[in-house]
């Protein structure tokens, strides 16, 4: 059955490299590929109070309406992607049930709930060199004055599009490349981070 199948991440070629880089303490900057989480794309009109309220009730947290912000509840993280678009991130395998609950709750409210679990993989970059590693390929202002924990952005990392989510002040970032770009993004990041892993 599908649930018993191992979900394959994108950077399979580098499984071994993941392990070795993860183990390398160096100055503490680490790169790892996480198990791909469940992912749901949500579209709906923020001007429709029924939509906002219904989604909030199902998720157990408010829908982030401010650009580039993230909210979360116990089993879901909600990333703002656009003025009428969000990415719901769940533990792997939990997405199907949440999709069903959302669709049922939304009923005839104009919205779109789409399973996009396969769309992206997730990499985690953490440690003192993490910000400068990203600065090598990302033109966003990642300075704490401009980008903080709880913020997210869709942007470019080198030549591939990503969703970037800052988790904490370590700093830790979750990076969601498109699945087909995940090997490229992995190679790019492991090259860029090497300087901080002496």
């Amino acid at each position: 059955m599908a649930d018993t199948l191992i979900r394959q991440g994108g950077a399979t070629r580098f499984t071994q490299a993941v392990a070795s880089l993860g183990a390398n303490t160096g100055n503490g900057t680490r790169l790892a590929e996480l198990t791909p989480p469940g992912q749901i794309n949500l579209r709906g009109r923020p001007s429709d109070p029924r939509f906002v309220r219904t989604v909030g009730a199902v998720l157990g947290c408010v829908l982030p309406l401010n650009a580039n912000t993230v909210t979360s509840a116990a089993e879901v993280t909600v990333l703002w992607l656009g003025p009428d678009e969000w990415l719901l991130v769940t533990p792997a395998g939990e997405e199907t049930a949440l999709i069903a609950r959302l669709r049922e709750a939304l009923g005839d409210i104009h919205a779109a709930v789409t399973d996009v679990t396969g769309n992206r993989t997730r990499l985690r970059l953490s440690g003192p060199g993490a910000r400068e590693t990203l600065m090598k390929g990302c033109s966003l202002d990642l300075h704490p004055r401009g980008f903080r924990p709880g913020q997210c952005a869709q942007t470019l990392l080198a030549r591939g599009g990503i969703i970037l989510h800052q988790i904490d002040d370590a700093p830790t970032y979750d990076i969601y490349p498109r699945r087909s770009f995940s090997e490229y993004t992995w190679m790019w990041l492991s090259d860029a981070v090497a300087e901080y892993q002496r």
Partner: protein, 1007 residues
């Protein structure tokens, strides 16, 4: 080891406790840590470092900075060799190997110097004028010879072993330059809490202060620099970047800086650190504190080794503890050279004379020089220099009343050093790159920043403020204002450090050509303007006489200012001489355009990590690893790597494709179609939306049915095609071509967001969520049936162009019965993370039928046999659906859809447009090249009208012959006629046919 007899006994910023060994032109030499290659060579008494570009004249070190035109060096050997580096910027390190360029067999005895004897013929435009005929000689004879004789250093032939990277940075205030103005600007901005980046091209901060004997706050200037840098380092939001050249200034305060991170270290020592880094800066505000360049004087034979800019000599003495000579003559038209003379005198250089072009003496510096007993000759000119590889003396004469010539008898003065100062050019390069407008200042005889076009301000010498107090004050004000403009502080200017009072300078006397015994261009002497390109005042005047009177034309014709130095020392002299010859004011002549980079920048640093595998992302499908393991060769489709074909054993492309085609037509094959764009479309108006964007009707598509659609742009030309399936009343899945996936999504959003915001439709890209396996062939049904035992696979229950949901190999899947091969075919979509697993199950189950993985080449052949188009291959944005013979896909009933109105335009509705036809060559084994032009007749003399071209062409295993598709003018009317493909040596005769070669009734599809 030569004793460094040109070192001062003490002083300078070199570390005398750390000797550094290096090699120049094969000779082992020693300098100290802190030396540049130029200062170390001068300390060893070496001035002759190169030969000039055209005449191969001996040349010495002219400057002490990045403006250096002469001392171009080939650094290192083998894979790390690098040409055209300025000796004045190379920091020496243990084991450095450097050599001169443009000299053979060596710089001391150079065969090419014969050109100097023949210089009368090597005038401006010589190459243009001489090597015109015969034309065919240019590539084969002239150019290679000239290239060998001229040119600069040699590019490395081996791959670069170092790596380079880039970094983005945002800041409130970027300060370019770290002299007194730059440091004060950074300090003032830092105190407001602003994010500050300060960059300087030199190895340490301080700029001109590093070579100054002035005091600031009662301490030596260099100590003030040290303390200020320490203070700056304590601000957490300040980033100090020495060895970093701000090299480009672009729109919206976007600047690039090139940092040399390891060039000062022995090569290969820091393998984990990039050698150079390109900083991409987005600055709210910029303070330009880039200083000024001293101008050479244009006098007779002003290019002998030992002729040097006055302030450069002062820098060598004060900063590097190096004496560039023992007995100097100073030639000047302004006050600043007096400071150089005084400092050099204190350092131990005998000042034989100060030759001042000005008639009047005044000011405290002149008074000091006079007091020291230095001989000062006013209203005088150096009219000749002597010496072959080193200057040995000069002639000095009195200038006449007009300043145009000299009178009386020459006085010869022996010397081994001639210091010149023709005034100062503010380094307005970055200002000018930012599109700021310059103004010519008559009193100072230089161009200064006038109108800013971006959020920047200049401070200090780059704004023609030449006093220390002025630079400090302007820098502080600029830093505070910049910070305020970026939202930090109230513009409060920090307390200024105290400096000695400076007397006002006496005015400059800009004699752009220093008069000598012969008129310029007559006699043997040369008055060089551009040292690097060997352009003399006579060349400028000749160009002017020949009509090259725009400064931009002058530049191209004479090449002045076109070298690696981009004319930092020559441009103003050249344009001033041009202005004089035209009797125009200098502002009217203007300057050439300043362009990035400020100084030469390596290709490596511009490429950064965008090399090798990182040069461009390779997009992989979930089944990629299987394809690799099964010997696939890949084709690039956009950034995707798609399996091209799967050779077995020693098969070539053709053998593999024939085998793969046979398998699909006779049994079953499987294609990885994951790369197709997939857009999930939901909303009450989804059907209406599709009805407007596709040329055919979608309103009444039944749930569970698929429909092929074509999208056109408003001009009626085909943009994309694909199959769209109705998943529910308000829910569709659209597929797009692989290459257009992102473009189509943006385009659909455009219409939804701007033209039809009333439509309630949401689009979500699910391209990467699904892995797609297309199973095709007569045995496809058996394979899918075994994988999905719960699904009724009968033709009645699951007909062609329909869709079912089922569990396939244990995975929830969407199955589409659609075909791009003309065979019974199912496309199975499963979540990408299960794609590889399901693929492997397909292969396992299909094994008993000999299931054959096939690639894009076989797909292309199979679809061409059916006459199915590929957007971008059969179309090129000038092709309508009707041109493709696909009028059936264009609705006649719908009142409007994108592109409809254009189909009735006169040009679009012509009946003789280029139309898609099939071609069968007379020789069935002849495969036409794709792109081949087609003609209506087999013979005749050019020009023969072209009536079209071949868009697709293959050998068809199924048909046992070649087939081709072509766009041919009036093609529909040419059925069964013959047309021709002239292919160079032969002309191939082709019959025009319908573009469907196989199973035209579609029996196999519906089976």
């Amino acid at each position: 080891m030569t004793k460094a007899e040109f070192r001062t006994p003490t002083g300078g910023r070199i570390d005398r406790g750390r000797p550094v060994n290096f090699t120049f032109n094969g000779k082992a030499l020693q300098g100290y840590a802190g030396d540049t290659l130029a200062s170390a060579l001068l300390a060893n008494g070496i001035h002759l470092v190169g030969r000039s570009f055209k005449y191969h004249r001996p040349r010495g070190i002219l400057s002490a900075g990045s403006e250096e035109p002469n001392a171009l060096i080939q650094l290192e050997r083998g894979n790390r060799t690098e040409p055209n580096l300025r000796a004045t910027q190379i920091e020496i390190y243990e084991g450095l190997v450097a050599s001169s360029q443009n000299a053979w067999p060596n710089v001391e005895t150079d065969v090419g110097s014969i050109n100097n004897v023949l210089s009368k013929i090597f005038v401006a435009g010589f190459y243009y004028k001489t090597f015109m005929h015969p034309q065919s000689f240019w590539m084969k004879v002239y150019e290679p010879v000239i290239r060998r004789a001229a040119g600069l250093g040699k590019a490395p032939v081996e791959p670069d072993p170092d790596f380079y990277d880039k970094m983005h940075i945002h800041c409130d205030v970027l300060v370019a330059g770290s002299g007194p103005a730059g440091l004060m600007a950074a300090l003032a901005a830092a105190k407001t809490g602003a994010r500050v980046v300060i960059a300087d091209e030199q190895n340490e901060f301080g700029g001109s202060l590093l070579a100054s004997r002035e005091t600031i706050d009662g301490k030596p200037a260099a100590d003030w620099v040290r303390d200020t840098v320490e203070e700056l380092k304590r601000f957490p939001e300040v980033r100090l970047l020495p060895r970093t050249t701000v090299t480009g200034y672009y729109d919206h305060n976007y600047l690039i800086m090139a940092e040399r991170r390891t060039d000062h270290l022995p090569r290969g020592l820091a393998p984990k650190v990039s050698r150079q880094r390109l900083w991409k800066v987005r600055a709210s505000q910029v303070v330009l504190a880039t200083g000024a360049h001293e101008r050479p004087l244009v006098f007779a034979d002003n290019d002998r080794p030992g002729v040097m800019l006055a302030d450069a000599a002062r820098t060598y003495a004060n900063r590097f503890g190096t004496l560039p000579g023992k007995r100097a003559v100073v030639l000047t038209n302004n006050d600043s050279a007096y400071q150089a003379a005084l400092d050099l005198a204190d350092a131990g250089v005998a000042i034989a004379a100060i030759v001042d072009l000005r008639t009047q003496l005044g000011g405290p510096l002149a008074a000091q020089a006079k007091q020291r007993g230095i001989r000062i000759l006013t209203n005088s000119a150096v009219t000749a220099t002597y010496g072959a590889k080193r200057v040995t003396g000069v002639d000095v004469m009195t200038i006449n009343g007009s300043g145009e010539s000299v009178i009386g008898a020459p006085t010869k003065i022996d010397c081994d050093l001639v210091l010149m100062s023709g005034g100062w050019n503010p380094a307005v390069h970055l200002f000018s790159q930012s599109t700021g407008k310059l103004r010519y200042d008559d009193a100072l005889a230089c161009f200064v920043p006038n109108v800013s076009m971006q959020a920047e301000r200049s401070a200090g010498a780059c704004k023609a403020t030449f006093t220390l107090a002025g630079c400090l004050a302007e820098g502080a004000a600029a830093g505070a204002e910049a910070a305020k403009a970026a939202g930090h502080g109230e513009g409060e200017v920090p307390a200024l450090p105290s400096v000695e009072r400076t007397e006002p300078q006496q005015p400059i006397r800009p004699l752009w050509v220093v008069p000598s015994t012969d008129l310029v261009g007559h006699g043997k002497a040369k008055h060089f303007v551009d040292f690097q390109n060997d352009v003399s005042a006579a060349d400028v005047l000749l160009a002017s006489r020949e009509g090259y009177q725009s400064v931009e034309h002058l530049k191209r014709y004479t090449t002045t200012g076109m070298g690696t130095d981009q004319g930092k020392t020559s441009n103003v002299n050249a344009l001033a001489i041009l202005a004089k010859s035209l009797a125009s004011p200098i502002p009217q002549v203007g300057t050439t355009t300043f362009r990035p980079p400020y100084t030469p920048t390596t290709y490596g640093v511009l490429a950064g990590r965008d090399v090798g595998e990182l040069a461009d992302p390779a997009r992989h499908t979930p089944m990629h690893s299987w394809h690799v393991a099964h010997n696939a060769l890949f084709e690039d489709v956009g950034q995707w790597k798609r399996p091209w074909y799967f050779p077995q054993g020693s098969e070539d492309l053709h053998a593999a494709v024939r085998r793969e085609c046979r398998a699909v037509r006779s049994s079953v094959g499987v294609l990885d179609a994951s790369t197709l764009g997939k857009i999930d479309i939901q909303g009450p108006d989804a059907a209406q939306f599709l009805n407007r964007v596709y040329t055919n009707a979608f309103l009444k598509l039944e749930i569970g049915k698929c429909r092929y659609g074509v999208m056109c742009k408003e001009d009626g030309m085909v943009m994309d095609d694909g199959v769209t399936t109705r998943l529910g009343p308000n829910h569709f899945l659209m597929t797009t071509t692989t290459g257009n996936a992102a473009k189509v999504l943006d385009w659909l959003e455009d219409y939804l967001q701007t033209e039809w915001p009333d439509l309630r439709v949401f689009l979500t890209s699910v391209t990467e969520h699904y892995a797609t396996a297309s199973i095709a062939g007569p045995k496809a049904r058996e394979v899918v049936a075994e994988l999905a035992p719960d699904l009724d696979m009968s033709a009645e229950a699951f007909p062609y162009m329909s869709y079912r949901e089922a569990v396939v190999a244990g995975v929830p899947a969407r199955i589409f019965r659609i075909s791009f091969t003309g065979e019974l075919s199912y496309e199975i979509n499963v979540p990408a993370y299960n794609g590889l697993y399901v693929w492997e199950q397909i292969m396992r189950v299909g094994a008993k039928h000999g299931i054959t993985p096939y690639g894009t080449e076989t797909m292309h052949v199979l679809r061409a046999e059916k006459g199915y188009i590929i957007v971008g291959q059969e179309t090129d944005a000038t092709v309508t659906p009707q041109d493709l013979g696909m009028g059936w896909v264009v609705s006649k009933q719908k009142p409007d859809f994108i592109g409809k109105r254009s189909f009735s335009r006169e040009d679009t509705s012509r009946s003789d447009r280029k139309q898609l036809v099939g071609l069968l060559t007379e020789d069935p084994n002849e495969v036409l090249p794709e792109g081949a032009q087609l003609t209506a007749t087999a013979d005749g003399h050019p020009p023969i009208p072209m009536i079209g071209h071949v868009t697709s062409s293959y050998y068809s295993e199924t048909l046992g012959r070649s087939i081709a598709l072509a766009l041919v003018k009036d093609g529909f009317q040419r059925m069964d006629q013959h047309i021709f493909a002239p292919l160079g040596g032969k002309t191939v005769k082709c019959a025009v046919t319908k573009p469907v070669f196989y199973d035209p009734e579609g029996v196999r599809l519906h089976g």
